[in-house]
């Protein structure tokens, strides 16, 4: 029997489509989480009522932020899930090496992020529709999303990028966890330290990390930041996973 020389791209392609099918559990949890998020969002994020110089108003604020945040957490969780033994071993049921497995995972995470970003924004529209019909409101104010398609697309794009960042983060945490369970404790400690450690300027480390992404108002710079951090996190995961043995 002659041996075949597989090409990396070819195997990555096969693994990618295989994983999209094999990880179907994640679609289920995505839908569940988004429905849950819609449910939570139903209460609104705030309300105000009073008299504005003779005009009585009753204002309710709603936001689809929770849906996006839930979707980001879903990304984090799904990515961490695919680093667990059971899922990693799934790779090794068929043709793979660590590089091809990781590459395929990267593409899977990209795909999941786009799916997550798209559905989170769309389910935001669903939320609006549900609120529109379930409240006896006179003034329902939301116009821009529909009237400005470029904003709509930007929204989906940036939501996808957030989900992707969380995916890659989850992937790295998952990989670290596979190496040593204590690393999770260390990360938690680092996180808490970051919450309370003040840096010059009055805010703490965590808020700085947060604002690094969230207050970036240039789409281009935001994209650069996201890519830089994602590549960094993913590279760390690559290095870790290359040292791991399978099926012990």
């Amino acid at each position: 029997m002659s041996i075949t020389k597989p090409s990396l791209t070819n195997i990555v392609k096969k693994q990618y489509s295989y994983k999209l099918r094999a990880y179907r559990q994640v679609y289920n949890s995505l839908i569940a989480l988004q429905l849950l998020a819609i449910f939570f969002s139903f209460n609104g994020v705030g309300s105000m009522s009073g008299n504005w110089g003779g005009i009585h108003l009753n204002i309710n604020y709603y936001s689809a932020d929770i849906i996006i945040i839930f979707t980001m957490l879903w990304g984090l969780n799904s990515a961490a899930l695919i680093t667990t033994k059971a899922y990693r071993f799934d790779d090794f049921a068929f043709v793979t090496n660590r590089l091809s497995g990781n590459m395929a995972n990267l593409y899977v995470m990209l795909t999941l992020s786009v799916i997550g970003g798209l559905t989170s924004i769309l389910s935001g529209v669903l939320l609006k529709l549900l609120i529109y019909y379930s409240t006896d409101v006179q003034i329902f104010n939301d116009t821009r999303l529909m009237s400005e398609p470029n904003l709509f697309v930007t929204s989906i794009l940036s939501a996808s990028m957030y989900v992707f960042l969380f995916c890659v983060l989850g992937y790295m945490i998952g990989m670290l966890f596979q190496v040593n369970k204590m690393i999770l404790v260390a990360l938690a400690a680092l996180f808490i330290w970051g919450l309370f450690k003040d840096v010059s300027g009055g805010s703490n480390v965590m808020v700085n990390v947060f604002t690094f992404f969230v207050s970036e108002s240039s789409l281009f710079l935001f994209f650069i930041k996201m890519m830089f951090c994602s590549i960094l996190l993913f590279s760390i995961s690559l290095v870790i996973s290359n040292r791991m043995e399978v099926r012990q």
Binding site: N28, G53, I59, L126, L129
Partner: protein, 230 residues
């Protein structure tokens, strides 16, 4: 509308049912760690069509057709009237105007049963004795660049011998739903992420009354009145 809400309640019912089913399956799935292909296929199909349907439905809603040219005046009517001139206020905000001939020297102004009228009133004493009382009611309700001023009912004003009676028409609270844009887009627009959105709603009213030079105006209780003298 009744058919629509009927369909919608069905929609919501199906939606809630799916939600419960999914959560139940999800919890069960933790143990079994797999979802059957057929179930998932249907779930995805239903979810995607709900999303697509809702975006189509939503874009057909009238909410997206409410855009009108918003009058340019910004700022508080009261301040404008006091510090600048009432003419600076965009006439588009004028709700109602009255012009009454009045011969007497004394005028009472008040409300039915002295009920408190929240609309601020500015009284301008003209430098002429033209025996004419003119009043203008300004109203404004702009919600994130959409003008709803027309929806606000104007107050009414009648002269009953020597008493000017102001009526506040019965108007229920305006129920406003405001959507914050997703934070993933907020950060790229002018708005700040954590900013409160109060300035999205701009609501105010003003009653501007111009009286002849020598008229004695007696304001009864329940009025938020301010005199503007030359």
């Amino acid at each position: 509308m009744t058919i629509l809400s009927g369909i919608l309640s069905l929609f919501i019912l199906v939606f809630v049912a799916i939600g419960f089913f999914v959560i139940w399956r999800g919890l069960k799935g933790v143990k079994k760690s797999y979802v059957s292909k057929r179930y998932l296929k249907w779930l995805i199909r239903v979810y995607v069509s709900v999303l697509v349907l809702s975006i189509i439905w939503y874009s057909l809603l009238s909410v997206s057709n409410r855009i009108e040219d918003v009058p340019s005046t910004s700022g508080n009517f009261y301040d404008i009237a006091v510090n600048q001139s009432v003419d600076e206020i965009d006439p588009a905000f004028i709700g109602k105007q009255w012009s009454i001939d009045y011969e007497k020297n004394k005028l009472n102004i008040g409300t039915v049963d002295h009920e408190y009228l929240e609309t601020p009133i500015i009284v301008y004493r003209s430098d002429k004795n033209n025996r004419k009382i003119s009043a203008t009611y300004y109203k404004k309700l702009v919600v994130s660049e959409n003008d709803y001023s027309k929806e606000v009912k104007s107050i009414d004003l009648t002269l009953n011998q020597d008493r000017l009676l102001l009526y506040q028409p019965a108007q229920p609270d305006f129920k406003i739903v405001l959507f914050k844009k997703e934070f993933t887009i907020r950060q790229f627009t002018e708005e700040k992420l954590f900013e409160k959105r109060e300035e999205d709603v701009s609501a105010q009213s003003l009653l501007y009354i111009s009286i002849p030079k020598d008229l004695t105006l007696i304001a009864e209780d329940g009025l938020n009145i301010h005199y503007l003298d030359n």
